[in-house]
C-alpha cells in the first residue's frame, strides 16, 4: 500500500465510517440506510450573497430493504469499496474504468451489478455528496475534453508548458487541475474567453485572436467538464482575470453560461470550487441579429422544448435581472435561435475581427 497523504487518509476513513454505520444498523436489527443529500432542483438554492447555486439541506435515505432502493444501495457500496482501494493504492482512474471495475454478474443469475455506465455515474455523484468528498479525492476523473491556448506558461505534473506554442489543437485540459497538478508560472493575459464550441475556438486560434487580444481562449465541447470549469475559476481567482463566455443564442447556450457563472444543479455541491459569479455573457445575444445584421435565413426555428426551457430560465433567480429577462423574452418572442457559426455569413473571420472586438469595446455584455 502506498503511503497516503492526509487528504487520502481522510477519504478512506470517511468510507469506512459509512460502512460501519450500516453494519451497526444491521446488527441492531434495523433496516440499514445511507443518507444522501438530494441532488435535484428541489434541493438547490441560489445564494444571492455568494451568487452561486448551492445544495439545500434535504437529504434522502437510501434503504437496503426496499425493492426500489436495494440495488442502488448495493451499488453504492461496490463503488465505495472500489474507491477506497484506489485511494489506498494512490491510483487514479476514469469513471468509465470504475464502471468496469465494479461490474460483474450477481451470483448465478443473469443480472449484473451494473448494466451501463449511466447507472454507475450517478452512484459516484451520490457518494461524493454523501461523503462530502470531491471526485478527485475519490481518485476518479471524468472523460476529458476541452482545450486551451493563450499567453500563459503553466506547469503540469512537473512539466513546464508554454501555451503560446500549442499549434492548432491547443493544450488538452486534464480532468484534475488542482494546485498539486497544475501551476501557473507566468502570463501576460488580460482576460479569459470561454467558447462553447470547438469549431469556433479553432477559428479564434487560427486567427491568433489570443495573441492580438492577449487573452486565454478555452473551449469545453459544449457543456464544459469539471476540469475546464475548475481551471477557469482558478484563472479568475488566482490571476484575477475577467471571464467572458461566448455561446450559441439558444436556451442550451444560456444554460452553459449559467453553469459557468453559478454552478449546475446536478453538481451544485461543487459550485464553490467551480462557479465564476462574475463571468460575463458576450454573446450571442438575442438582439445581435439586428445589431450585426444577420440575415433571416440563418435563424433556426425554436421547437417546443426550446421554448419551454427558455420559459423555465425566466424563473431562475440569477436571471431575474431586467436585462436578462429582456434577453430571454426576446428569444421567446422571436421564436428563433442562432448558432455562433451564423456569424460566418458576414465573413469567415467576422467573429474574431469585428464581432467580439466591438462587443468588448462597447462593453456590450450581460452579467
Amino acid at each position: 500500500m502506498a503511503r497516503m497523504d492526509a487528504v487520502s487518509k481522510r477519504t478512506a476513513q470517511k468510507i469506512e465510517k459509512l460502512a460501519e454505520q450500516v453494519m451497526r444498523a444491521v446488527k441492531g436489527g434495523k433496516n440499514p440506510f445511507v443518507e444522501i443529500p438530494v441532488r435535484s432542483l428541489a434541493n438547490v438554492r441560489f445564494d444571492p450573497k455568494k451568487r452561486i447555486v448551492q445544495l439545500g439541506g434535504q437529504r434522502q435515505k437510501r434503504y437496503f430493504f426496499n425493492v426500489a432502493m436495494a440495488k442502488k444501495f448495493m451499488q453504492t457500496f461496490l463503488v465505495s469499496d472500489a474507491c477506497k482501494e484506489l485511494v489506498e493504492s494512490g491510483k487514479t482512474t476514469s469513471i468509465r474504468d470504475l464502471y468496469y471495475i465494479t461490474k460483474h454478474t450477481i451470483g448465478e443469475t443473469r443480472q449484473n451489478t451494473f448494466e451501463e455506465q449511466d447507472e454507475s455515474d450517478p452512484i459516484i455523484e451520490d457518494l461524493e455528496v454523501a461523503l462530502d468528498a470531491l471526485r478527485e479525492e475519490l481518485h476518479l476523473f471524468a472523460s476529458r475534453k476541452g482545450s486551451m491556448v493563450g499567453p500563459v506558461t503553466i506547469r503540469d505534473s512537473g512539466d513546464t508548458i508554454d501555451l503560446r506554442r500549442m499549434g492548432s489543437g491547443g493544450w488538452a485540459v486534464p480532468s484534475i487541475v488542482e494546485e498539486n497538478v497544475i501551476e501557473f508560472v507566468r502570463h501576460e493575459a488580460r482576460y479569459v474567453l470561454l467558447i462553447e464550441k470547438d469549431a469556433v475556438w479553432t477559428r479564434f486560434n487560427e486567427d491568433k485572436f489570443w495573441k492580438r487580444e492577449r487573452c486565454i481562449i478555452l473551449q469545453g465541447g459544449g457543456q464544459p467538464p469539471r476540469g475546464v470549469r475548475r481551471l477557469v475559476q482558478r484563472l479568475h481567482q488566482e490571476l484575477k482575470l475577467p471571464v467572458y463566455v461566448l455561446v450559441d443564442n439558444d436556451p442550451w447556450g444560456f444554460y452553459i453560461y449559467s453553469v459557468m457563472k453559478q454552478g449546475s444543479i446536478n453538481l451544485a455541491y461543487e459550485s464553490m470550487r467551480m462557479a465564476v459569479p462574475d463571468a460575463r455573457f458576450v454573446g450571442l445575444s438575442s438582439f445581435d441579429k439586428d445589431k450585426y445584421q444577420l440575415p433571416g435565413n440563418v435563424a433556426i426555428k425554436m421547437d417546443d422544448g426550446d421554448v419551454s426551457r427558455a420559459k423555465q430560465m425566466l424563473a431562475y433567480p440569477w436571471f431575474k435581472e431586467a436585462r436578462w429577462q429582456r434577453e430571454i423574452q426576446e428569444m421567446i418572442r422571436s421564436g428563433v435561435k442562432f448558432e455562433l457559426e451564423a456569424l460566418s455569413r458576414r465573413g469567415i473571420s467576422f467573429v474574431t475581427e469585428e464581432y467580439l472586438p466591438r462587443k468588448l469595446k462597447e462593453k456590450d455584455w450581460l452579467e
Partner: protein, 729 residues
C-alpha cells in the same frame, strides 16, 4: 365369399350424369397405393358389368346415346354411394394412412359413446391398436408358425396385389384397430346393415345432439379396411345377459352397397354382459398417425368425463383415462326441426313425406313450435288460393316457395333447448383436471411436424424432466387444495387453481345459455387451463370440440378458431400477435353442442362460420378471459412478493462482501445478520400489507419465522376476499 371387392371399386361410370357425378369423373384414387388390377380398365369393367340393364326407354332424338344414359342412370343408383366415397374418401377423413388410422378409431369410438349415452350406460371403452408387422416379426423371432394373415388377404378375392406393400411409405403397414364398449349392443339382425351398408343409421332422421349424424361412419371405415387389406370387419355384439354374443365378419358389396356376411357365429362365452366389439384390419401409418390418435383419445376423455377409456398401443404401456364423474350427461331429447331453419328443398322433401292431409296438420306435426294459431298465421301470410295439400307442395316449387317465405316472415318461438346436452361447468373442470393429470404423468411426447393442419404437439412441455419426476412421486398424485409443500414460499392455492403433479393450473369454465342459428339450437362452452407446464412463449393450445367430439384437423378453416383469434386476449393479459392465437401457457377448450353442428365438410373437421356461433364463442371466451385476467393479476402480485425477497437475498451477498472488504472483516457474519433482518423486515411488511390491502394470495412467511399468527390472518383475509368482490360486482 364376397365378389371381388377391389375390382368393383374401380368401376367408373363412363358418362356420369345425375347428382354428384362430376366429382366422380375427376376424382382418381388419391393415393398411389390403391391397387389397380391390370386390365381392369374403366371402360372394360363398366361394359362387362351392367347386370340390371334397364328396359329400353323411348328414344326421341339420338336413340343410341339416350339408351346408354338410361343405363348409366340405373347403374348410378346401384353403386354411387360406395363408389363415390371410395373415390372421395378424403371427404370422410381417409386421405392417407395416418389420418385413416385416426378416422377409423374415431368412428368406432364415437358410435360407442353415442350408444352408451342413448342407453343410459356409463361408458367403458377400450381402444386398441395392434401392429401386425411387428407382431409377426415377434412370432418369427420366437419360431412360431406365422398366422396365415397374408394368405387370407389374398383369399379375399385375390385381387390384392402382392406388391402393394412396396408402395408403403415409412411407418406404413397393416394394423388392427379394436374398439370395444359396454353399450347396449346391437340386435343380431341389424349388425350386417350397420357395418356393411353406407348411409344406414339411426341418427340421420332425427334432430338430437349426438356425435354421429350421417350413418356413414363405421361402414366407411369397414370399407376402407376392405379396400386396403381385403379383410372384412369383425364385430362381436351382445344385447344382454340372457342373450348370446354373436360374432360377425362382414364385407361390403360396394356395387350394391349391401353387406355380405362371411361369418356368423354364436359365441358360447363373452366377457361383456352387453356391448359391442369392432375389429378392423387396415393399412395405416402408426408412426405418423399416433400423435393424432393420442390426441383424439386424450381429448375424448377430456370432453367425456363420464367415460373411462383404456388405450392400448403397440410397444407402449396401457394408458387409462379414468372417468371423472359417475354422472351421465343430461339426456339430449329429440326435437322436430324449427321452421326458421328449414331450407326450401328440405321443406319440399318433408312435405312429400308428410302423412297429413292439410298444410296446417303438416306444419304442426313436422315442426317444433308451430301451434295451430302459428300455423294459421303462416298460412295467412302464404295466401294460397284454394286448397293446397302437402303433396302439392312437394311437386310445385312455387307453392313451396311461398310457404317458405311465409314461414320466414312469421314470428315463431325459439326452438326448445332440452335437445342439448352440454358438458357443464363442473364436469368440464373435472375433465380438464383428469386430462392434465394423465398428460402430466405420461411424459413428454416427441412430435414430428404434422403436415396436416393439426395443431402442434399435444403437450409441448416446457421441460420433460419435471413431469417425469412427478411420476416418481405417487403421493403427489391427485389434485391438491390448500398450500402444498412446494417451494420455499408456497403460495396458498387460490380459487380455481388446481395443483396437478406438482404444477399449478388455473382452471376456469363458462357455459353459455342455448342460442339458435338457422332454427337449430346450439350451445357454447369454453374452458381454460392456464399455467402449469404449458410453455409461456408459444401460442396457446386450442382444443375444439363439436358434440363432445374432438376436432383435430383444419384448425385454420374452423369457425371456432376464427372466434378465438378475433377475441382480443390482450385485455386478459396474454400477448397476441395480430390475427393470431394468443401466446401464453394456456390450453383453451371450446365446445359447440348442437342438434346439427354445421361442419364445413362431411369429414366433420371444422365448424362452419355462422356469425351466431362465432359471437357466442367470443362471448364465452371473453367471460373466461375476465376470470383469467383476475388470476394473472393475483399471480403477478404473488410473484412480485416472492421476487422481492429473492432480490434482497441476491444483493445481500454483494453488500456483505463489499462491507467486509471496506472494514477488513469477514463477510460471513455480516451476511448472516443481513439475512436475519431480511426475514424480520419482510414479515413485518407482509403483516402491514394484509391489514391495509389483503392480497388474495401471497407468500407465507417461512415456517421457522416467529409468530405463526401472520399466515392465519392472511388466509382468513383470502377467504373473505372473494365474497367482497362478488358484492362489488
Amino acid at each position: 365369399m364376397a365378389r371381388p371387392a377391389v375390382r368393383q371399386l374401380e368401376l367408373v361410370p363412363a358418362e356420369p350424369a345425375g347428382r354428384k357425378p362430376a366429382r366422380l369423373e375427376v376424382a382418381r384414387p388419391p393415393r398411389a397405393g390403391v391397387p389397380v388390377p391390370a386390365g381392369a380398365g374403366a371402360g372394360g369393367a363398366a361394359g362387362g358389368e351392367a347386370p340390371e340393364r334397364a328396359a329400353a326407354a323411348p328414344a326421341p332424338r339420338a336413340p343410341k346415346r339416350r339408351a346408354t344414359a338410361e343405363q348409366m342412370a340405373q347403374r348410378q343408383r346401384e353403386i354411387s354411394i360406395s363408389e363415390f366415397f371410395t373415390k372421395n374418401r378424403h371427404l370422410l377423413g381417409f386421405d392417407n394412412p395416418s389420418k385413416a388410422l385416426l378416422t377409423t378409431i374415431k368412428e368406432a369410438v364415437d358410435n360407442s359413446l353415442d350408444a352408451c349415452e342413448e342407453a343410459g350406460i356409463l361408458p367403458e371403452i377400450t381402444v386398441e391398436v395392434r401392429d401386425l408387422g411387428y407382431e409377426s416379426g415377434l412370432r418369427r423371432a420366437k419360431g412360431q408358425a406365422e398366422e396365415p394373415a397374408p394368405e387370407r388377404a389374398r383369399g379375399a378375392g385375390g385381387h390384392h396385389p402382392p406388391d402393394a406393400r412396396s408402395d408403403l411409405s415409412k411407418g406404413e403397414g397393416r394394423f388392427v384397430v379394436v374398439v370395444e364398449d359396454n353399450g347396449p349392443g346391437i340386435v343380431k339382425a341389424q349388425v350386417p346393415k350397420i357395418f356393411g351398408k353406407l348411409l344406414y343409421g339411426s341418427k340421420f332422421h332425427r334432430l338430437k345432439q349426438s356425435r354421429g349424424q350421417q350413418g356413414i361412419g363405421i361402414s366407411a371405415a369397414a370399407m376402407y379396411g376392405q379396400l386396403t387389406t381385403g379383410q372384412p370387419i369383425r364385430v362381436v355384439s351382445r344385447t344382454g345377459k340372457a342373450r348370446p354374443a354373436h360374432l360377425f365378419e362382414i364385407q361390403i358389396d360396394t356395387r350394391k352397397n349391401d353387406p355380405v356376411v362371411t361369418r356368423d357365429d354364436e359365441l358360447r362365452e363373452w366377457h361383456q354382459e352387453h356391448g359391442t366389439r369392432v375389429e378392423l384390419e387396415i393399412v395405416a401409418n402408426w408412426q405418423q398417425g399416433q400423435k393424432f390418435v393420442n390426441r383424439y383419445v386424450e381429448h375424448t376423455a377430456l370432453a367425456n368425463p363420464h367415460a373411462t377409456v383404456h388405450y392400448l398401443r403397440p410397444k407402449q404401456e396401457r394408458l387409462t383415462f379414468p372417468r371423472a364423474t359417475d354422472e351421465l350427461p343430461k339426456e339430449a331429447l329429440e326435437i322436430r326441426p324449427h321452421p326458421h331453419g328449414v331450407e326450401l328443398g328440405a321443406l319440399m322433401l318433408m312435405a312429400a313425406e308428410s302423412r297429413s292431409h292439410d298444410l296446417k296438420g303438416f306444419l304442426g306435426s313436422s315442426f317444433s313450435r308451430v301451434s295451430p294459431a302459428v300455423a294459421d298465421e303462416i298460412l295467412k301470410a302464404a295466401a294460397f288460393k284454394g286448397r293446397v295439400r302437402p303433396r302439392d307442395l312437394a311437386e310445385d316449387r312455387h307453392l313451396a316457395e311461398s310457404l317458405h317465405r311465409a314461414i320466414q316472415a312469421t314470428k315463431i318461438m325459439a326452438p326448445p333447448t332440452n335437445c342439448l346436452s352440454p358438458i357443464g361447468d363442473a364436469l368440464m373442470k373435472k375433465g380438464l383436471v383428469s386430462f392434465l393429470q394423465v398428460i402430466e404423468s405420461e411424459g413428454p411426447q416427441e412430435d414430428g411436424d404434422g403436415q396436416l393442419d393439426l395443431d402442434h404437439a399435444t403437450k409441448r412441455r416446457a421441460t420433460g424432466a419435471s413431469s417425469r419426476k412427478a411420476k416418481v412421486q405417487p403421493d403427489e398424485a391427485g389434485p391438491e387444495r390448500a398450500g402444498g409443500s412446494g417451494g420455499p414460499y408456497p403460495p396458498d392455492l387460490e380459487e380455481g387453481v388446481e395443483k396437478i403433479k406438482g404444477h399449478n393450473y388455473f382452471i376456469a369454465t363458462v357455459t353459455r345459455p342455448p342460442r339458435v342459428y338457422r332454427g337449430n339450437p346450439f350451445q357454447v362452452e369454453v374452458g381454460l387451463a392456464y399455467g402449469g407446464s404449458w410453455p409461456a412463449d408459444k401460442p396457446i393450445e386450442l382444443f375444439r370440440f363439436a358434440n363432445r367430439v374432438p376436432l383435430l384437423f383444419q384448425r385454420g378453416a374452423c369457425g371456432v378458431t376464427e372466434a378465438v383469434v378475433k377475441t382480443d386476449w390482450r385485455n386478459y393479459l396474454l400477448s397476441q400477435p395480430r390475427g393470431s392465437l394468443p401466446v401464453g401457457p394456456m390450453a383453451l377448450l371450446v365446445h359447440v353442442a348442437s342438434v346439427w353442428v354445421p361442419f364445413t365438410s362431411e369429414s366433420k373437421e371444422a365448424v362452419a362460420h355462422y356469425p351466431e356461433i362465432i359471437r357466442e364463442i367470443q362471448l364465452a371466451a371473453q367471460e373466461c378471459g375476465r376470470k383469467l385476467a383476475t388470476h394473472i393479476r393475483k399471480r403477478q402480485h404473488a410473484d412480485y412478493q416472492a421476487q422481492r425477497r429473492s432480490i434482497f437475498e441476491l444483493y445481500i451477498e454483494e453488500v456483505a462482501r463489499a462491507l467486509g472488504k471496506i472494514t477488513g472483516k469477514s463477510p460471513v457474519p455480516i451476511q448472516r445478520e443481513f439475512l436475519r433482518v431480511a426475514e424480520a423486515v419482510t414479515e413485518a411488511e407482509l403483516e402491514e400489507r394484509s391489514e391495509t390491502a389483503p392480497p388474495a394470495s401471497g407468500p407465507r412467511p417461512r415456517a421457522e419465522a416467529p409468530g405463526a399468527r401472520a399466515p392465519k390472518d392472511a388466509s382468513e383475509k383470502v377467504s373473505r376476499n372473494p365474497r367482497r368482490r362478488d358484492e362489488d360486482e
